[in-house]
Subunit: 140 residues, 4 copies
């Protein structure tokens, strides 16, 4: 299976369709097995104490797995997140971007499942783990 | 067990400690068994298509259960979310605030667990369900 | 909406279709808003230390929500669990049955979502919380 | 960090401490980064239709991650599962054992987090994904 959208095509898509958030996120790479997305951390993502907020990490994984689905089915229809679970394991390093490394575990007719590890850029130990399920629109 | 912080005390606390987000959220009521929090939906919370974004709903539940913990232990230390699961079940009604109705299921020495249903204001069917675990700081 | 299967009909169904496990479980009651299922705890469900095993509690919720779906759509097709999350909050009382009190939060065309609290029979504080998603077969 | 218990030591431990279930499970391998556990599938694990039951898969992951923790901290105290999430993605092949490939993502002072993919022996696509959190006893 070849990708229907590569990193450049996905970034173009985000700029067009998700302009409210596109400036915060970049697809760093997209391959058959792994998509890496960057959250450019700014003050808007921080909680008291200088740590990146949970909702910001949630949004990072949500968009990363969504892009992993698009990379395989193309920019058609609108997949919807139906379930998410996330474990916050370590405090992100302050002053560093976050990177989500995600993989698509299932791409079915009606459901897709992916998971991701989130890292502070340059660090070895993941700060969070997440898995999400998406409902795929009937016709594609 | 009487509450250590009521709705007014919780709203004061949010205004002081979470000023970045406090204008978006209000504790509507807090009792022994139920805390209700409102997300005042604005354009910043919307996704393409006019629906409230997943991260916004995540943030609503996260803050609501956090406040339910504070209502019982008071404004001491800093509880940290360690796990969250969320099911997105229906599309929120456009142009309506969201209300999270949450209950604290466990308040232990080191872990607290709560869950919540999210509703579009004035609607009967919940748009999302979520449960979260918090790690409570050692001394309180 | 009236129920298509009441508690007696559900117990008959379990005895017929799930004979391997039916002797362990009983539907205590089924109404529009709440289904209660009992796990008759025996040695087979215990872990070292005398506590009920996690898989047994998982199986209790899984079957309870499955029956809540059947109570509304009837004994047609085969719904399949696609996602489950469970929080183990307290140690069950030894020597007591477990009761799952569950509600169906969504019954859609392709997905159903339910949640449950598990109690040791006669106790007030829940021992576990769980939510599960089911994929509903296309034709019903 | 060297392992405190290798596969042989873990299997001895299971035979001693979990005799009710030890005959169903084998630690195939244990290393710094990966523990593989086999569920020897028998009729007791099957649901109508011949597929392995959800509770059996839950039990496989639960025991696998528990062993991954033991491999690093040794056979001391009793870690307790506090949270689990699991996605059932494909029907297991009938007549084949299941293998859980799990990794420990965090081993903290009070909490450990691991995740796993479950495969039908000899197949490439995972049948399930799961992550679990364990509370670690205070003194070790």
């Amino acid at each position: 299976m070849t990708l229907k959208m590569d990193a450049a095509a996905l970034n173009d898509f985000l700029a067009r369709e998700f302009e409210q958030v596109a400036s915060d996120f970049t697809v760093e790479s997209a391959s058959e097995d792994l998509l890496v997305m960057r959250l450019k951390v700014s003050d808007a993502h921080l909680r008291p104490g200088g740590t990146v907020s949970g909702p910001s990490m949630f949004g990072l994984v949500d968009l990363a797995i969504y892009c992993a689905i698009l990379s395989k089915i193309g920019p058609v229809g609108l997949s919807v997140t139906t379930n998410a679970s996330i474990d916050f394991m370590r405090k992100p390093e302050s002053g560093r971007d976050l990177l989500a490394r995600c993989r698509l575990l299932k791409l079915g007719r009606v459901l897709a499942v992916g998971d991701a590890l989130i890292y502070s850029d340059g660090q070895d130990a993941p700060v969070a783990r997440s898995s999400m399920t998406y409902s795929i629109p009937p016709k594609r």
